[in-house]
């Protein structure tokens, strides 16, 4: 049996998967990226070895913004290509639109037959990204997933600023005004969903399913709110946060000379 390793060093978390030649997911790991991508990569290497998969011996592809900091990877592939391929593996279908809400960027990727056909990515600004949610959650003294759960019970409030720093001031003044926490949480998620949806409309007219990947795909409320905003069902699965790593592992299938 041949094995393939994919490592996705994101801005917040590092995700690692091992696939066998039937594309079965054998192992998945997640850890905070921390301040040094190289240290994180070495920690991953240790964990993989303990589990019996030596990345020096097996085909290994790195992706994510820290992809160049994985010394033992055979090659690097961008997170756009990897998320597209990984989502296609998870969700199937000939045509797919992938919405990936990452730590510091949000990507909308059009996939046909498992290959990326088009994509859009947010500009420099962090609106509509995981970082935006993280900052607001900190201000509300909540964990990001708790904020998303709470949001479902709220409503009636909005944040108008797209800039994370200004939006944080808005949240602080909402707190000061005595606004209910669930209403503020609702406003935060609503802001992200609207921003992501406006980006997704740039690729509008694309047929096929829409799916959500990245760190927020386990938040049911985010998925539901996106479905309503985009007027189409947005699919998500728990492995969605590993989509990038899965795509990297799939890219490792083309590396020759390691598996025998």
């Amino acid at each position: 049996m041949n094995y393939y390793i994919g490592i996705d060093i994101g801005s917040t978390c590092a995700k690692t998967v091992v696939l066998d030649e039937n594309k079965t997911l054998l192992l998945h790991l997640v850890q905070p990226t921390g301040w040094s991508s190289v240290d994180t990569a070495l920690a991953i290497q240790r964990e993989l070895r303990e589990a019996g998969f030596d990345p020096e011996q097996l085909p290994c592809v790195a992706t994510g913004y820290g992809r160049i900091s994985v010394p033992f990877a055979d090659k690097t592939v961008t997170e756009i290509t990897c998320h597209g391929r990984g989502a296609a593996l998870l969700h199937g279908g000939e045509e797919l639109t992938v919405i990936d809400i990452g730590g510091q960027d949000t990507k909308i990727i059009r996939v046909e037959g498992g290959m990326v056909k088009d994509f859009v990515m947010n500009d420099k600004c962090s609106a509509g990204t995981g970082r935006f949610l993280e900052v607001m959650a900190n201000t509300l003294a909540l964990r990001p997933d708790a904020l998303c759960d709470l949001a479902r019970r709220g409503g009636g409030t909005s944040i108008s600023s797209m800039c994370t720093v200004f939006a944080e001031s808005e949240v602080i003044s909402l707190i000061g005004r005595g606004e209910k926490k669930e209403n503020i949480a609702y406003a935060v998620v609503d802001s992200i969903v609207k921003k992501v949806a406006s980006q997704a409309r740039r690729l509008e007219g694309s047929p096929g399913r829409v799916c959500l990947t990245g760190g927020l795909c386990s938040c049911a409320y985010v998925r539901d709110a996106l479905s309503i905003e985009l007027r189409t069902e947005v699919a998500a699965c728990p492995e969605g946060r590993y989509a990038g790593a899965l795509g990297a592992a799939l890219s490792a299938f083309s590396i020759r000379g390691k598996n025998v």
Partner: protein, 423 residues
């Protein structure tokens, strides 16, 4: 560039600030240019010009001024060099392409002005570019709102003449541009004290046509599957063409082309076979803006053509040389210049036709539409450009960026993903 300190002092430049630029430019040029492998030998000339960019050509211009010649600084490919040359004047491009000058421009301009305008105004007001000090007269045009208002600020400080470019391409607009050229000619005559005759204008038209042909010849070589020159090097030739003496520019470019054509015959390419071929379209890349070319050419792709002012818009279409009266020549000039397709025109379907034609001619795998931040015209036209390309089945990536390096890694991810997408 240390030999020119006295000259810069005499020009009233801010030496201390200018030194900072002199210190960073060689490193940037080394990293981006000299790191390339197997460059054509003919590029030595341009490497030399860059190494002395604020020295050698400025000192030539000063010498010419001593002999009574006037220097006209321009900012746009619609301003006809021929008219100035016909009156024994000299044209030099003035567009700023470095973040170095942007804060100077931001002192007086809104933040939401494009970096090219901010850099140009900053270079003037901060006294950190010799070309801006040397030019006796600036010639502006009405190609965008940002420029129109910037001229009013620049005009406080230096003689400023503005040509009113039509915004549509009807017959009466071409007629109007011919009248604008005639009026500009009168201004140039008055300012230089030299008469423009059909003979001098005819000779000037010929000179600039020869320069256009030489630059077109370089682009012709880039159509080859065997790529004899990198996009970065070709861009440098284009950028310097705006500053250099037109006769020498044609001469050196033709010499370079001899070498490029030989390379094609010998199968010498600067990129491995299978490197993805990219057409860049969009706003100009003024010197020393090499950012996107560098990212693309270090991400497994090559730039084979620029549908830009610092590209095909500068040399495509020749001026009819058969006219023998000034009136006929002004009209011939107007007809040629009005063929250039800038997003300031509406409608501007000619540019879409150009891009689709070039995508074929240069055998490109994909197109990158790059626009300077806050350039409303090109940014908006990007929609039409990208739509037309998608309909034609040509992959396209839209990018908006400025002169800073802060988005370099994000851009790299996008460009790499685009190249991966091309397969």
């Amino acid at each position: 560039m240390s030999d020119y300190v006295q000259m810069w002092k005499d020009l009233g430049m801010d030496l201390e600030t200018h030194d900072n630029l002199c210190q960073v430019l060689p490193t940037a040029f080394g990293d981006v240019y000299l790191s390339q492998e197997n460059r054509p030998e003919g590029m030595n000339f341009w490497d030399f010009v860059v190494s002395e960019i604020h020295g050698i050509r400025p000192s030539e211009l000063l010498e010419a001024q001593k002999k009574g010649q006037k220097v006209f600084g321009t900012f746009c490919v619609y301003v006809p060099d021929e008219v100035v040359i016909a009156a024994n004047g000299i044209v030099t491009g003035l567009c700023g392409g470095s973040q170095f000058w942007v804060p100077g421009g931001e002192k007086v301009l809104p933040k939401s002005t494009c970096p090219l305008i901010k850099a140009s105004v900053g270079a003037r007001l901060d006294r950190t570019c010799p070309f801006f000090r040397i030019a006796d007269m600036y010639v502006g045009e009405t190609t965008c709102d940002g420029k129109k208002k910037a001229w009013e600020i620049l005009g406080e400080d230096v003689p400023m003449y503005i040509m009113d470019l039509p915004q549509m391409k009807r017959e009466k607009d071409i007629q109007k541009w011919a009248e604008e050229i005639a009026a500009f000619a009168r201004k140039v005559e008055e300012f230089t004290g030299n008469a423009i005759t059909p003979e001098t204008l005819g000779a000037a038209i010929h000179t600039i046509n020869e320069k256009r042909k030489a630059l077109a010849r370089m682009y012709e070589a880039r159509k080859s599957k065997v790529l004899p020159i990198s996009g970065k090097d070709a861009l440098l030739v284009m950028q310097i063409a705006f500053f250099d003496d037109p006769v020498r520019c044609a001469q050196m470019t033709n010499k370079l082309c001899d070498e490029l054509e030989q390379r094609i015959q010998d199968g010498v390419s600067v990129f491995p076979a299978g490197t993805k071929r990219i057409l860049l379209t969009g706003t100009p890349l003024a010197i020393p803006n090499w950012k996107l070319h560098h990212i693309i050419e270090t991400s497994g792709a090559a730039v084979v053509c620029e549908e830009m002012c610092t590209g095909t818009r500068y040399f495509e279409n020749l001026v009819d040389e058969s006219q023998t009266t000034l009136e006929g020549q002004f009209m011939a000039l107007a007809q040629r210049y009005m063929k250039t397709n800038c997003a300031c025109f509406t409608p501007n379907t000619g540019r879409i036709d150009d891009i689709l034609r070039m995508a074929k001619e240069y055998q490109v795998d994909g197109v990158i539409d790059v626009n300077l931040k806050f350039c409303c015209l090109y940014d908006t036209e990007g929609y039409t450009v990208e739509k037309a390309l998608k309909e034609a089945g040509i992959p396209v990536l839209g990018i908006e960026t400025d002169y800073t390096d802060t988005d370099a890694e994000q851009l790299r991810t996008r460009v790499e993903a685009f190249v991966e997408m091309l397969g």
